[in-house]
């Protein structure tokens, strides 16, 4: 039976009258990559900071590695944290920052290896203020790994980075995932959550509106799959004769499917009829499509 390393139950955080986190529940298993997904202001960072012990909660129960982060000061040594808007002492270099963390964490990690892992070795003696946004994030990630933590909290690790830097960070996170680290990843990049997370919780306005694997969430909320075929009017007629609903769009015919099996049957049918079609593509809704729809629907519902 898998062990829960993080348990959140009925968690609430209020700032005066404003409710930033509104009675949420979830758990994270050891070795799992769990992503909190949501638009800006959804309450993701507040939730993560409560779990890290840097912010006090208003009510509810929180357990991280069996302890209450608000009360346990030693817990921090078992965690690796890359906060949102990571910053460090402006005149310190990555090498100095890592040496400092290594001493305070009593860690045995090799600074050189960590810098190599995040591809920052050539900037090891450059002051923080002269590092680019991507290089700063890489340093933050290296600092989060100094103590070989049991759990990593990565709060928007690729926010504001260019696509190349973002992919580099993903590579590091995938590497950590392979090493069996438990990771709580917050992001508003759907592609990131879909690629890296085992399970996703979608947050909006302080509430979790759905939770599951990316596939489960897509299955629950997606519209019908579509098969896009490039072909002439004759093929369109054949498809309709086979009992499918076809919509012509220029050189393309869009066919609504009830299941993936329908797509296989239709292609086989056209093949048997020796129909001439140039190519075909199966279109499924991504997590991003579902997310935009879910958050949008919620806002429409609240505005009514």
């Amino acid at each position: 039976m898998s062990e829960n390393v993080i348990t959140v139950s009925n968690l609430v955080k209020k700032y005066g009258e404003f409710i930033a986190v509104n009675s949420i529940d979830f758990h994270i298993e050891r070795g799992e990559v769990f992503s909190l997904l949501g638009p800006n202001g959804a309450g993701k960072t507040t939730t993560v900071e409560i779990l890290e012990g840097v912010r006090n909660r208003t009510s509810g129960e929180v357990s991280v590695l069996g302890t209450d982060p608000e009360k346990s000061r030693s817990l921090i040594r078992k965690l690796g944290i890359l906060p949102q808007d990571f910053s460090f002492i402006y005149n310190s270099t990555p090498n100095e920052a890592l040496s400092f963390y290594k001493k305070t964490m009593h860690a045995s990690a090799s600074i050189e290896e960590l810098l190599e892992l995040v591809e920052l070795k050539e900037k090891m003696n450059t002051p923080f203020q002269k590092l680019s946004g991507g290089q700063r994030q890489k340093l933050g990630l290296a600092l989060a790994m100094v103590n070989d933590p049991e759990i990593l909290f990565l709060d928007e690790p690729t926010s504001g980075l260019d696509p190349r830097a973002r992919r580099n960070i993903w590579k590091v996170i995938e590497n950590l995932k392979k090493r069996g680290k438990t990771i709580l990843l917050t992001t508003h990049y759907l592609e990131e959550a879909e690629l890296l997370a085992d399970r996703v919780a979608i947050m909006n306005k302080g509430k979790i509106i759905d939770m599951g694997t990316p596939m489960e969430i897509v299955e629950r909320h997606h519209a019908n799959d579509r098969l896009i075929i490039r072909g002439d009017a004759e093929i369109g007629t054949l498809i309709e004769n086979a009992g499918f609903k076809a919509l012509r769009n220029g050189a393309y015919i869009e066919v609504s499917l009830n299941s993936i099996k329908d797509a296989i049957e239709l292609i086989n049918f056209l093949y048997d009829k020796k129909a001439k079609f140039e190519d075909f593509t199966l279109k499924r809704e991504s997590l991003e499509d579902v997310f935009v729809k879910m958050v949008g629907e919620l806002e429409d519902y609240e505005n009514e």
Partner: protein, 365 residues
Amino acid sequence: MKMSNIAAYFILHAKSYFRSWSAIFFQIGFPVILMLLFGAIFSGSSYTPSTLIVQNDSPSPVSWGVVSAINDSGLFHVQVINNNVNLSQYIIKNSVGAALLIPANFTSNFYSGHAYVILMGEASPQVSSIDYQMLDGVLAEINYKLANASQKLVLISQVSSGVSDKTVNYYVPGLIGFTVLTPMFNMVYQVPNYRKEKIFRQLSFSGLTKSEWMIANILHSFVMLVISDIVLVLIAIKVFGASLILTPATILLSALIVFVGLIFFIGLGILAGLVSDNEETVSVVGNLILFPMMLLSGVFFPLSFAPSYLQVISKFLPLTYFINALNSTLIYGNYYTIYIQLLLLAVSSFIVFLIAARVFSWKQK
């Protein structure tokens, strides 16, 4: 609290500090410039006579004799102007500090035994007052000579044995007091900046605690103060010939005074930094604390010149005790009598540090 954490942050902070030229300038360079400036101003021993404008409306051998005696005193360089010049307008037009008018009835009054001269002043009362006292002394001397009398009672100035009369000596404790204000000013800037940039939060992820951070800062500032104060004392001695009492006991006691005072100023800097939430308030709060303290604690001039109500205020400022204790130790070697000052400083430091440690939080609200 872990010594290894304090040492780790000390090293991190020191390396970052030595990359900041402005930090080094304000901790070492600026006090050295002030030392050179004060030393140069107060090391001169020769007196340059000030110019005294004289208008003689009663020309006679007697009046010219008085003018000549004033000029020969060596205190004034007399410059006579014509009788037809309006003296009041001349003073304003030429920004003259003081001018002497010998009135038209001077000669006749002199022979009847009641002559007087008038010292006319302009805007600066301090200048006129000094001129008045000097001139009064010269006229008294003339009176004695005219009366064929001699001074029965004379005041002689003499410095106590074992104590140097070099003016620059008195600036050394004041400037050491100035150097101890720099770490406070650093805190006023650093605390809001680290909060805004969330560097405190990042440091807390390393396992470093707030108390360890505060102690590492005190130790680092102390090392920097020792360096800057050694440079100051060496310049005072080697360049301006200051004669301070430097024995192992006075050196150790001075270091103790600096350390205890530093705790107070770091604590005060943290508290001031906590109320400054943007760059504008940082500057206002920093200067509001720095300048009154600097001016009212005898950093740049002895408080005996100040009005009595300001002297009362100065008694509530720990920097006053800090400078007085250093004064007693380094100039008089009088380290047996500074315990009250050191005790008052230590109590203030303890209270301020305790409040700062209590109020200062690394947690997000």
